[in-house]
């Protein structure tokens, strides 16, 4: 191969340029040039929005693999190549399939294959994975790199970004917990995790939370309140409840449980008129933290503080694990393409990086198994899971 392109689907995690750097270094080593497509496929689809060019020729010397800033390529894809909103010649608004045009533009740019950094089940992440899958089925050579804050991608035990987010969320929980404990209040902190509770469970364990509520284990608020009382009696002043976005109350408890489904996101009505077809999605977070906090307050009379980490969960510098994982994933993607792979995700399955078919990642969302060792350890630590 002479020329590869790389792009990044929506959903920010820190340190994405580590993947770009890994791919560029490996490509140069293999005598191959690499270009970046800006903002998903927007750099090619709506090239006129990029006066400096929608494609960036990438040079290993200018990419900082340890940067905590947003990627040089951008991740804010606003346009779906398969459903691009267009005003047709006869004045109707329609969603038009422009994937053939996109493939033609890739060919015109001498791009022989594309590396896409994609997410899992969150709306924006799944979108990028799905676009990659459809383009692959239309004949594009493509290898994907997994990134996620939920750690829910099937076949991928460790996606890029998860370790950094886990470290950052744990540190934030410790700070919140220490503050809350000192003033005798209970912080109810919502962290990302619509379908999978890995982040809530692992950060909650690391910060020694009093309770962790995850989508996999429907909670009974009375049991949560009872566990907090037990902690109090045992001399461990309760201060921290960690809640995943997708946590659900058991039906019979009747507690308010407006789970923040990603679909319950909203478009900012006045967003991006200049960009036309695109729609800016604002994630609505905090609904679950408020519902759980209100229920605990009602049932126990405790003074509670609902807090949603939202984008704060994704901040901070990338950890050493993610820096080397990103470099490895970028390089592995180039190696997979050179080995003739296409339609796969690279996945770190210790001690190797292997290729997993995209269809496998699309068919299942990997949640915390009920009998997981993590669940058993959490219980042993005295962390209430609400069941």
């Amino acid at each position: 191969m002479k020329r590869i392109a790389i792009n990044i689907g929506g959903g920010y995690v820190p340190g994405l340029d580590a993947i770009v750097a890994g791919a560029v270094l490996a490509a140069h080593g293999a005598g191959c040039e690499i270009v970046g497509i800006r903002d998903g496929y927007d750099g090619l689809l709506v090239a006129d929005h990029y006066p400096d060019g929608g494609l960036l020729l990438l040079d290993p010397r200018v990419i900082d693999a340890g940067s905590s800033r947003a990627s040089v390529l951008g991740t804010a894809a606003r346009n779906d190549p398969f459903r691009l909103r267009t005003v047709t010649a006869d004045g109707a608004v329609e969603e038009v399939d422009r994937s053939d045009e996109l493939l033609r533009k890739l060919t015109q740019a001498n791009v022989e294959a594309v590396i896409s950094v994609v997410g899992g089940s969150a709306v924006t992440g799944l979108h990028a994975l799905s676009v990659a899958f459809r383009l692959h089925r239309k004949g594009l050579r493509t290898v994907c790199v997994p990134k996620s804050v939920e750690n829910e991608i099937a076949g991928v035990p460790l996606p890029f970004g998860y370790n950094s987010v886990l470290a950052h969320v744990t540190e934030t929980l410790e700070r919140i917990g220490a503050g809350a404990r000192d003033v005798g209040r209970l912080a109810v902190v919502e962290v990302p995790g619509q379908h999978a509770g890995w982040l809530a469970l692992q950060s909650g364990m690391a910060a020694l939370a009093d309770a962790v509520l995850i989508p996999e284990i429907p909670y009974d608020i009375a049991k949560v309140a009872a566990a907090l009382d037990a902690h109090q009696r045992a001399g461990r002043r309760p201060a921290l409840v960690v809640v995943a976005e997708g946590a659900q109350a058991r039906a019979r408890t009747g507690a308010a449980t407006a789970a923040a489904d990603p679909l319950r996101a909203s478009l900012a009505p006045n967003a991006d008129p200049a960009l036309g077809q695109g729609e800016r999605i604002i994630d609505r977070s905090g609904a679950v933290a408020h519902a759980v906090a209100a229920a605990i307050q009602q049932s126990s009379g405790r003074e509670v503080m609902p807090i949603a980490l939202g984008l704060l969960a994704r901040g901070g510098p990338p950890t050493a694990v993610d820096r080397q994982l990103g470099l490895a994933y970028g390089a592995a993607a180039v190696r997979a393409l050179n080995a003739g792979d296409s339609g796969v995700l690279v996945a770190f399955q210790p001690p190797d990086v292997r290729s997993v078919p995209l269809a496998e990642a699309l068919q299942r969302v990997r949640a915390v198994p009920a009998g997981s060792e993590f669940v058993r350890i959490a219980r042993a630590l005295g962390i209430a899971l609400g069941d």
């Binding site: 779906d80 398969f82 909103r85 005003v87 006869d90 004045g91 109707a92 608004v93 329609e94 969603e95 089940s121 799944l126 979108h127 799905s130 676009v131 899958f133 459809r134 379908h195 999978a196 509770g197 995850i214 989508p215 996999e216 997708g246 659900q248 489904d261 679909l263 319950r264 996101a265 909203s266 478009l267 009505p269 006045n270 008129p273 729609e279 999605i281 609505r284 269809a359 699309l362 068919q363 299942r364 969302v365 990997r366 949640a367 915390v368 198994p369």
Partner: protein
């Protein structure tokens, strides 16, 4: 268009739904036939299931009985567009991969997966509409074609209205007018009452909120007023808080319609959020999630402006 009756009765179109006993879609008690397909993308749309021209999939998570007990949809889907979430064992639809082929719908035993829209002939539609016939005579009602945009299926809509006329049913349409004049005229000529939307006056705001500017729409309306002097035209504005609930817009519409005596009324439709839940079923996001309801005071004030222009009191308004 003058087709032989049998031929006209056999013409088919894409119908979303037939709703009985409607009281806000024209005079009297009406049967409203919603057609699929729209050429606008209003951010406040309360019928998102009507936008796309073809039948499309919808999914109600609460009805899914789970992969372990069932899982039939996963086997049926040729697009890998259905996936399982381990935490609840239920499926989800990957809307980016779904092509609305509909193969999963008959496979779903709990009707969690269902389809919006079906192909129906003129005769099939009217057979259902005529069940309400006894209400029309007393109330002055009849059939109303709505959408989506009914003029996007001009042959079907025209044949349906013409055949309804032949069977003695009064006819009305609801239209936003964003089609070619030939389509528009083909349908309007068969309607007794034309309910038509003036959404926004400013072309730039119109494009921002609705997807295109309003030049062609206004031209179609003006031409229709002049071409069909014997039809009743009822102008309407869906009143969206913060978007068009201002007197300037109301006055601009009045200035546009008042020269034409066949525009018999101008009605305000206060914004509601009844369509919000349907966006979730379709895997789409609702643009106006955080919008407040329209204050009663605003509605009363703007309605008074219209009453004054029509030289009437609130009690004299058309029913």
């Amino acid at each position: 268009m003058s087709l032989h009756t049998d031929q006209a009765a056999g013409i088919s179109g894409r119908v979303l739904n037939i709703q009985h006993f409607c009281t806000n879609d024209g005079p009297g008690i009406r049967t409203t036939v919603f057609l699929k397909g729209c050429s606008l993308r209003c951010k406040w749309c309360c019928n998102p299931e009507s936008i796309h021209p073809k039948p499309e999939l919808a999914y109600d998570l609460k009805k899914c009985i789970g992969e372990k007990e069932c899982g039939l949809c996963i086997k049926e889907c040729p697009e890998t567009a259905i996936y399982v979430v381990d935490s609840d064992g239920k499926v989800r639809v990957n809307w980016d991969l779904c092509t609305n082929c509909g193969k999963c719908v008959p496979a779903c035993p709990s009707n969690a997966l269902y389809s919006f829209g079906r192909q129906m002939t003129v005769d099939e539609v009217l057979t259902e509409v005529e069940q309400d016939g006894s209400f029309y005579a007393q109330s002055g009602g009849g059939i109303t074609l709505s959408g989506g945009e009914c003029t996007l299926q001009p042959e079907f809509s025209a044949a349906l209205l013409a055949e309804a006329c032949r069977r003695g049913i009064s006819t009305a349409i609801e239209t936003a007018g964003n089609v070619s004049w030939s389509y528009f005229a083909q349908v309007v000529q068969h309607a007794d009452t034309v309910l038509h939307d003036h959404k926004l006056t400013d072309p730039v705001l119109h494009k921002q909120w609705v997807g295109v500017d309003n030049a062609r729409i206004r031209e179609n309306f003006r031409r229709a007023y002049e071409t069909f002097p014997d039809k009743k035209f009822v102008a309407r504005t869906p009143l969206i808080p913060g978007v068009n609930d201002v007197e300037d817009h109301i006055q601009a519409v009045l200035a546009f319609i008042r020269p034409y005596p066949n525009v018999v009324d101008y009605q305000l439709l206060p914004y509601h959020r009844y369509g919000e839940g349907k966006y979730d079923f379709l895997g789409r996001v609702y643009a106006l999630k955080d919008f407040p309801s329209l204050p009663d005071e605003t509605l009363r004030r703007l309605q008074a402006v219209i009453d004054e222009a029509f030289g009437r009191t609130a009690a004299d308004r058309l029913p």
